[in-house]
């Protein structure tokens, strides 16, 4: 005998499975997903030369400095920026001696037009944004940090670096960071810890506390 409840049951199974998919995807694209940037974010051009970033970095000696390398269209990078805004910067005490540099690189098609919306995720106007259309800064940082997957170099993006206050950028290449996290596949996670906003926030606070003690 045909089970009269079967069609209803199947509709429930289908509805639950599709509903989960639809809710997650459709829910993502709410009004909040649109850019709410009121003031335009100015991104300094890094076009084959690091000079503007180097000048800012050295001028800010005495501050803990965070350097974030992202593509402004990459969801993982945007998540890294949002986490940095929510879990790191928003939880710092007022007047914390910290500077943030965000280097935007066109890895998966990001452009300078995407920077304002990405910048908004940090919830701060204190961060300085740089646009490196040639992408050479990522190659340079890959060498500096020694990012390798086997014998193959890994391009430096989706990377989050902490520099203590006394570090200066004196050579051609950027200095070594005191701590680094990433969201890249293929890297040795023992050597390069994967992104964890809570751990990153803790390291930032430790670096700030250590620099306060030295002062």
């Amino acid at each position: 005998m045909r089970n009269p409840l079967a069609p209803a049951r199947s509709r429930r199974v289908l509805a639950i499975a599709l509903g989960i998919s639809a809710l997650i995807l459709v829910g993502c694209g709410g009004p909040k997903a649109q850019s709410q940037v009121d003031t335009p974010v100015h991104a300094v051009l890094l076009n084959g030369e690091d000079q503007p970033l180097r000048d800012d970095f050295n001028r800010d000696q005495g501050f803990v400095r965070l350097m974030l390398l992202v593509d402004p269209r990459c969801p993982e990078c945007l998540r890294g920026l949002a986490d940095t805004g929510d879990d790191v910067l928003a939880k710092l005490p007022t007047g914390a001696r910290i500077k943030v540099y965000v280097v935007h690189e066109p890895v998966i098609g990001g452009t300078d037009k995407d920077i304002p919306a990405a910048a908004e995720l940090l919830h701060t106007t204190l961060a300085r944004h740089y646009w490196n259309p040639t992408g050479d800064f990522g190659r340079q940082m890959s060498q500096v940090l020694g990012l390798m997957h086997g014998s193959r170099p890994v391009y430096a993006w989706d990377i989050y670096l902490i520099y203590p206050p006394k570090v200066a950028w004196s050579d051609k290449d950027p200095p070594q960071a005191s701590f680094m996290m990433h969201q890249l596949p293929g890297l040795d996670n023992q050597k390069f810890p994967p992104w964890d906003a809570k751990v990153f926030a803790m390291k930032v606070k430790e670096t700030l506390a250590a620099s306060d003690q030295k002062d």
Binding site: M1, R2, N3, A6, P7, R9, S10, R11, R12, V13, L14, I16, A17, L18, I20, S21, A22, I24, L25, G27, C28, G29, G30, K32, A33, Q34, S35, R73, C74, P75, E76, L78, R79, A82, I108, G109, G110, D114, A117, A118, E120, L121, H149, Q183, L184, P185, G186
Partner: protein, 113 residues
């Protein structure tokens, strides 16, 4: 056939969830997420990407339900519509191949990086 709606529902659900797994898997290697969902939506997608393996597991479970329904012995003679049963089996097999291909594709970016 007795379990046709359940089989179709389960395999349809598996297809839907595999599409979601693909979205999680590909979200970070292509710029489409920001175009479709905006910056906030792309962030949510990236934050939820950790559930991709669980979503893939759910697709396999739903396929299992589909196969169980179409290959179990019919309890009544009315459930013995052989032609109908074959049609649903083809449907489940077709969906299963599609779902497995999509599931594999959803993991591809991790290994091709």
């Amino acid at each position: 056939m007795q379990g046709k709606p359940t089989a179709v529902g389960a395999t349809g659900g598996a297809l839907g969830l595999s599409a979601l797994a693909l979205a999680f898997g590909l979200c970070c290697v292509s710029p489409w997420a920001v175009t479709l969902l905006g910056v906030g939506g792309a962030v949510v997608l990236a934050r939820l990407a950790f559930i991709q393996p669980y979503v893939v597991t759910a697709t396999i479970f739903l396929l299992g339900v589909g196969f169980w329904v179409v290959y179990r012995r019919p309890r009544t003679a009315a459930g013995c519509d052989v032609a109908q049963r074959h049609k649903v089996r083809w449907l489940v097999w077709g969906a299963a191949i599609l779902v497995i291909m999509i599931d594999i594709a959803s993991f591809a970016p991790r290994f091709l990086a």
